[in-house]
């Protein structure tokens, strides 16, 4: 629980825009029938670097801690332990007032566009808000809001409408415009397309790719949909029960997964191709992901893993390089390419 006294020293200055070390979040257990439940270790030691202009996909199943991680990075949640360095500045515990100059560069897109847009405000007001907070005049902010609407493909004519007048895809464009208003260098997008219909999802994926490219944004893309992540990201980190179990370049992780969980996860995604589906080798995992309130000993994946040995039940594997210098996996028996 003690906050670290020194900023992360492992970050290489000038190479990483965002540097995360040993990040953890523990929620107190809910009391049930008067008895306190075990605390929930939602995130349990997550670390990675993200370079300027890079996209990192954070994938995993529900309860793996990916959203909690994202929320800590933009300081919507206070970390229990670990450090977050943005542009070589330790922002882990900066008070909100001193965080404000950094906030400009650090924005978030949410899953449910309607829930994240104030229904009483006009689109102009919603997009202006972060600009006003940063000290822009009302007139400048409105002008910029109009430009942003053009940028996300909605058009200035929508400035004075309210969120309910828009479809899900359009509302998500407004959420994206707001996130881009202050000219951020890093955007954390938490399941930005999973509430959208398939035909609309592709529009938003293309928009994010275009913006990321044009604006040189770094993007942390949190999603459970591995197909979308493959499309949009340079690198991928796979989480299981609060920890990263594999991280690496998109190609190496998708084509030669090293961690048995990554392999199983990839093989479980149904392909929109009946012929390929019939030919496919599928790894069926047993049971459900375990609860972060009572994580299994050793490697958290061992109860569902076909390769598990004695050491997996007793000793937690750390991330280690597998195959190439850019890929790491936390497994005692990784698959080498």
């Amino acid at each position: 629980m003690t906050p670290p006294t020194a900023p992360a020293t492992t970050a290489r200055p000038g190479t990483a825009l965002l540097s995360v070390r040993d990040l953890a979040k523990t929620f107190p257990g809910r009391r049930r029938l008067g008895r306190p439940a075990a605390p929930v270790r939602a995130v349990d030691g997550v670390g990675f670097d993200l370079a300027a202009g890079e996209t990192l996909g954070l994938v995993g199943e529900s309860g793996c801690g990916k959203s909690t991680t994202g929320r800590m990075l933009v300081r919507l949640l206070e970390p229990t332990a670990g450090t977050i360095a943005f542009d070589d500045q330790d922002i882990t515990h900066l008070p909100q007032r001193r965080l404000r100059p950094t906030r400009r560069h650090l924005q978030m897109i949410f899953q449910d566009p309607y829930a994240s847009l104030n229904p009483r405000q006009t689109v102009a007001r919603i997009i202006s808000e972060p600009l006003l907070v940063q000290g822009d005049s009302a007139r400048d902010a409105r002008l910029k809001a109009g430009e942003l609407l053009d940028l996300v493909g909605l058009g200035q004519e929508h400035l004075d409408r309210h969120p309910h007048e828009f479809s899900g895809g359009q509302a998500q464009r407004i959420g994206i415009a707001r996130a881009l208003a202050t000219g951020p260098r890093l955007v954390v997008a938490d399941e930005p397309v999973s509430a959208l219909d398939v035909s609309v999802q592709a529009q938003i994926v293309n928009l994010l790719e275009r913006l990321q490219d044009e604006l040189g944004l770094a993007l942390l893309f949190i999603a459970h949909d591995l197909s979308v992540v493959r499309r949009i990201c340079d690198r991928v980190a796979v989480m299981y029960l609060g920890r990263i179990v594999e991280i690496g370049g998109k190609r190496e992780v998708y084509e030669t997964p090293a961690h048995p969980y990554t392999r199983a996860l990839l093989s479980a995604v149904p392909l929109p191709d009946p012929v390929a589906e019939r030919r496919r080798e599928r790894i069926l995992l047993l049971g459900d992901p375990p609860s972060p309130a009572s994580p299994p000993s050793g490697c958290a994946f061992h109860p569902r893993c076909a390769k598990a040995q004695d050491i997996c039940r007793t000793q937690r594997p750390e991330l280690e390089t597998v195959g190439s210098p850019t890929r790491q996996a936390a497994c005692h028996f990784p698959d080498s390419p």
Binding site: G169, V198, A268, L271, L285
Partner: protein, 352 residues
């Protein structure tokens, strides 16, 4: 996946010209506007569509679960017309001959009864079985759907089950009365992908063992490709295209089907070219749509000459047979030259 066999002569479920309308303050919503399909014993029909396409409304209509809607057309289960049956008659069919699995398993489970009691209750009601026999049967069913230690788990409450286990329990309940037809409405959408794989595998195994007809409602084309024999693509309350699964994915004939497949990012596709998105969003059903509901978003219609464009916008395309088992409702279907069908709308008899 079960082996693909020739469809039997008498379909298990036959839906003809189904219409479901809701009266709202904003006008009459035509949620389903003339849908026809059949499901054979041992076969899976995938009903695909986006939100508002009418796929869930269709499944609820088949189960007779609409209260404030006007339902017309014909829904026949093994030759028996269900529309117009009294609630009492219908409730005997429901559960006994057909059962439904929903997206959220908790909505189908009572929180205050044990899982075993709930499965036994269904069995007792439909078979008049004794308490002990029904309990034994419930434990057997839990074991059959892959719940470990079924005798112990039967005594637990739904909240003690994980999401995947709850959906297994709901499937056990649905199948405990040995129905002929299983309607599964997004049964894996709320589940994680590794658990989804288990549930789809389970449904396929049970289908094979029991020659179940399955109506699988989903928005996920991957799920359809994995489980379905035939696919019906819905858009704006209507059928856009219906075809055997391989044909549909290999050569979609409706521009909407093509657009859906093109807009999907694929796990097995290393190509990084931008996705071909469909512009715009699905239509509102509060006003009648005179022409093709997809016309405003259709690039094929937009590229056609003025006469055809007017037809797409103003004249409703009826499902027309193309090749074996394919129906396409489009004035400008995507078909290779030489394979177009008779051009005449198929009658109900011909599509069976």
């Amino acid at each position: 996946m079960p082996p693909i066999t020739a469809p039997s002569d008498t379909p298990l479920l036959s839906v003809r010209d189904l219409r479901v309308q809701f009266d709202t303050p904003a006008g009459t919503v035509r949620a389903v506007d003339g849908i026809s399909f059949t499901v054979g014993a041992g076969r899976t029909l995938g009903l695909v569509g986006e939100s508002g396409s009418g796929k869930s409304v269709t499944s609820l209509a088949v189960m007779g679960l609409h209260r404030r809607a006007r339902v017309s057309g014909s829904i026949a289960l093994a030759g028996r017309e269900l529309l117009g049956l009294s609630d009492q008659q219908l409730s005997r069919v429901r559960g006994r001959r057909m059962a439904m699995v929903f997206q959220d398993p908790l909505s189908a489970l009572h929180p205050a009864y044990t899982v075993g009691e709930q499965i036994a209750e269904a069995h007792r009601r439909h078979f008049g079985a004794g308490r002990r026999a029904a309990h034994r049967q419930a434990v057997d069913m839990l074991g059959e759907v892959g719940i470990p230690e079924p005798a112990r788990r039967a005594g637990e409450f739904p909240h003690q089950f994980s999401g995947g286990m709850r959906q297994r329990a709901v499937i056990a309940m649905a199948l405990s009365c040995e129905p002929d037809l299983l309607i599964a409405d997004e049964p894996t959408t709320a589940l994680d992908v590794t658990v989804q794989a288990q549930i789809l595998e389970l449904i396929a195994r049970l289908q094979e063992q029991r020659r179940l007809g399955v109506l699988m409602i989903t928005h996920d084309l991957g799920v359809v490709a994995r489980v379905a024999h035939e696919v019906l693509v819905m858009y704006g309350g209507r059928a856009a295209e219906q075809a055997p699964v391989d044909d549909l994915f290999r050569q979609p004939a409706h521009p909407y089907t093509r657009g859906l497949l093109d807009s999907l990012p694929r796990l097995d596709d290393p190509d990084d070219a931008p996705l071909r998105a469909i512009p715009g969003s699905p239509p509102s059903l509060a006003a009648p749509i005179p022409g093709c509901p997809f016309a405003p978003r259709c690039s094929r219609a937009a590229g056609a000459d003025a006469g055809v464009r007017a037809r797409c916008a103003g004249e409703r395309p009826e499902p027309v047979g193309h090749g074996t088992g394919r129906l396409v409702a489009c004035h400008l279907p995507l078909l290779p030259s030489g394979t177009s069908g008779s051009g005449a709308p198929l009658t109900a008899e011909e599509t069976r």
